[in-house]
Subunit: 202 residues, 2 copies
DNA sequence: GTCTATACTGAGATAGAC
DNA sequence: GTCTATCTCAGTATAGAC
């Protein structure tokens, strides 16, 4: 690392990140990214040798950003239930973009899976990051036995809502489903709080 | 219509249908389709002038095939609950392909939405077909008040399961979620069967 | 109707001047 | 480090021979 950070590199990654989300990976060309950053294509190749290199850099950046987000949620919210609720509500917070471009994680992983791209496992780490974090929160909630199942269930529900919200551009549906997820979380919490009582009943 | 159906055209549509599913629309080239059908690229253009024309033909074919499938379910299964269960269980019946390529409806609609393709509304009709049919079945079940909400909910759940099944290639997860959807359907049915009783309680 | 040949475009990638 | 010029290749599409 020199005295100055490579800011152009970061601007490229940032622009590519956005374009990959809005247009998809395959559909985004070098020219698109170069134009967004306002550099020539030649200069571009000074920073990244291949398109796959940019993809890996974008995935790394997203992984880092996601880690920071999850850590922030842990600081801001004290109870695991409240943290999980933060996750549920990104569907609303990012509702507009989701209706236009879908979930950034889901659409990238689906595209790379269909391309059978070498970096698809790397992209899946984004899913794994959420999965592990949610699983951890459900464990803290007292559901160590099925924490991972609950995490996967919640991830799947969110993905489905995002997919249909994109197809139907329906904000009412999105809000309705988020409410149902809130209720579902309440149920998980309340059915967990009395573990001793349920044992006695058996 | 002449004495002989245009079978080459149908073979092109069938091959394109499969390739669009497995590789995605953008990633499938004319050469790919021509090679699959074993005709020259020149001959190809005799049947379809542009790639968009093939896409429209493929979507039309899928719409027709889906309509037939839904009608078959209505004939084979007598109760609406049993028909809805047929829908749920295509997740298992097509499990292998879903793990590799995702849901054919969801992945196509998502790709076309991101491309902002002229035919994206046409592709969404596939979703609408399932939505209307499911809504109709829930109505027959006695849930006319929220039939469409239940249909959208079930569609979303299925989409989410398909997306994560593709990312994680996890058959156990897929079966687990299908079982939960079965249970959910049972709950919808049983909470509907005694409408008089619940009115009395109020 | 089916094929070959070929034009045209845009994309990824490289070389080398400045 | 940044740029221009250029190469290669794949993809869409057309013209015209058979």
């Amino acid at each position: 690392m020199g005295p100055r950070a490579d800011t152009i590199r970061e601007r490229i990654i940032s622009a590519a990140d956005q374009l990959f989300y809005e247009k998809g990976y395959e559909q985004t060309s070098f020219a698109d990214i170069a134009q967004a950053v306002n550099i020539s294509r030649g200069n571009f190749y000074y920073h990244f040798k291949t398109k796959d290199d940019i993809l890996d850099a974008v995935i790394d950046a997203r992984l880092a950003k996601t880690s920071q987000l999850l850590q922030a949620w842990e600081t801001e919210a004290t109870t695991p239930a409240e943290r999980i609720r933060r996750f549920i509500h990104i569907l609303i917070a990012n509702g507009g973009k989701i209706q236009r471009y879908g979930c950034p994680v889901g659409t990238l992983c689906t595209e790379l899976a269909k391309l059978d791209h070498v970096s698809k496992d790397e992209a899946n780490k984004l899913f794994i990051l959420f999965r592990r974090w949610l699983s951890q929160q459900f464990t803290l909630l007292g559901r160590e036995a099925d924490a991972d199942d609950l995490a996967m269930h919640l991830l799947a529900r969110s993905q489905g809502v995002a997919t249909l919200a994109t197809a139907f551009q329906d904000e009412k549906f999105l809000n309705q489903e988020v409410k149902q997820l809130d209720d579902w979380l309440d149920q998980v919490v309340s059915s967990t709080k009395q573990p001793a009582a349920s044992v006695i009943e058996n």
